[in-house]
């Protein structure tokens, strides 16, 4: 991994709401992190498309931490880059914010946009982790929206650590998400 990528990893992880994963490993290893109870009643399970935990038989906590850390760097995201444009290839670049103007559907449209922004943001995050982790051999098991938030929102180092423990632990008792 080259130096520039490491630098970007650092800044990207900060933007994702926490520490970079290399730093995350050292910090999290010094912190006792409890694995949450994954026994979620069927009636409380969230949308299977969105709310899941990762698990991989035989993976070590260290490898799972590395995989999660790798994928975590793709979580910071902004408004779509305009084309034509310039990309400082192999250099870090800023996260584009949405234009600070009234949108094409006026103020009402902006209010509606504000309401749906949270779930949309969350689904982009879920999509990114799904697309990055599944090819690395991880299966998904359903969970509740509350537990998903508990293990995803907040400090990145702790989130990665908890999810690594889940990924390397016993097979979750909830249904597997297929495909």
């Amino acid at each position: 991994m080259n130096k520039r990528f490491c630098l970007f990893w650092f800044s990207a992880a900060l933007l994702a709401g926490g520490a970079p994963s290399a730093f995350a490993q050292s910090v999290a290893s010094e912190t006792s992190v409890a694995t949450p109870d994954l026994n979620i009643p069927a009636s409380v399970l969230g949308d299977a498309r969105k709310y899941f935990v990762f698990h991989k038989p035989g993976v070590t906590v260290e490898q799972a931490t590395s995989d999660l850390g790798f994928c975590w760097r793709f979580l910071p995201h902004g408004f779509q880059r305009p084309i034509p444009g310039f990309v400082p290839w192999q250099r870090s670049d800023g996260v584009r914010k949405a234009p600070n103007t009234v949108g094409p559907y006026g103020l009402v449209g902006d209010v509606i946009g504000g309401i749906i922004a949270g779930p949309l943001e969350r689904s982009m995050r879920q999509s990114r982790m799904f697309r990055c982790m599944v090819p690395r051999g991880y299966a998904r098991y359903r969970t509740s929206e509350a537990l998903w938030k508990q293990i995803n929102i907040g400090d990145a180092a702790q989130a990665i650590r908890i999810q690594a423990l889940i990924a390397a632990g016993p097979v979750p008792p909830t249904p597997r998400v297929l495909p």
Partner: protein
Amino acid sequence: MTLRAILIVACLALTGIASPACAKIDVDGEFRHIRAGETFQLRPDRAYLLLRIDTTRLPLGPAILRVPDRQEIDAYEMARQAAYAKAGKKAGPLESFSFDYDGRPNLFVLVPKYAFASLGKIVAILAEVTPGDYVIYGTGGTYECLCLGTVGFAAPAGRITDLGTMISDRAWEPSAFPELAGEVDLGPSAVMDYGLYATAVRPLRPCDFLPAGLDPGQISPARFHAVGPFVEPNTMLINRLAPIPGVLAYDNGRVIDVATGAEALPN
């Protein structure tokens, strides 16, 4: 039309069309579609890209990135620092600061509706570009980056580099295209609020459609190589280019350059 469909259309509409902020960029000096009806004349100091897009399922055009040289990077960084200083305290940390750069561009989109020629559902895009090294960067403009693995190629001056055929389909459904095997039928998680699209590039085959008006002697098949993961924060979704036999493969998420057998490391 569902909310999801509206969102996807809106997002795609935002790409491939110059935004007002970019209107002053001299795009023609860097990139130009050669449109149907134009007489093509090859310039020895320019490079040309020929790409067929199979629109049977989706009419998505790829974003292509020209690898910038040192001077371009420096010019961008200087402009960024100046914009950051001008923005003052509200700008936040420099690492996350973004701005509208009106310097020399290096990211373009090959737009299906600006085809040079077409045959049934296959449209052929011909673009005049600056000679250099390029990366197939995204799908649907910057709707989706190919951040988890893609390919690069060289586009030399005075030649038409033939990229073969690009194919896209919905990643959440099965697909009839064998080139997309393993990248589709991913299930409902690939279509939450935004749909994920699978993309493949099928290198040039002898039977592929060649637009009239092009001299076969001026055409060279692209020599692709694997490009490792890269971070592009300014897209809706992330994905990877489908494996290409002899060129691009994946091993537990690692990008493999098949020709050398080595991992294409993260950029």
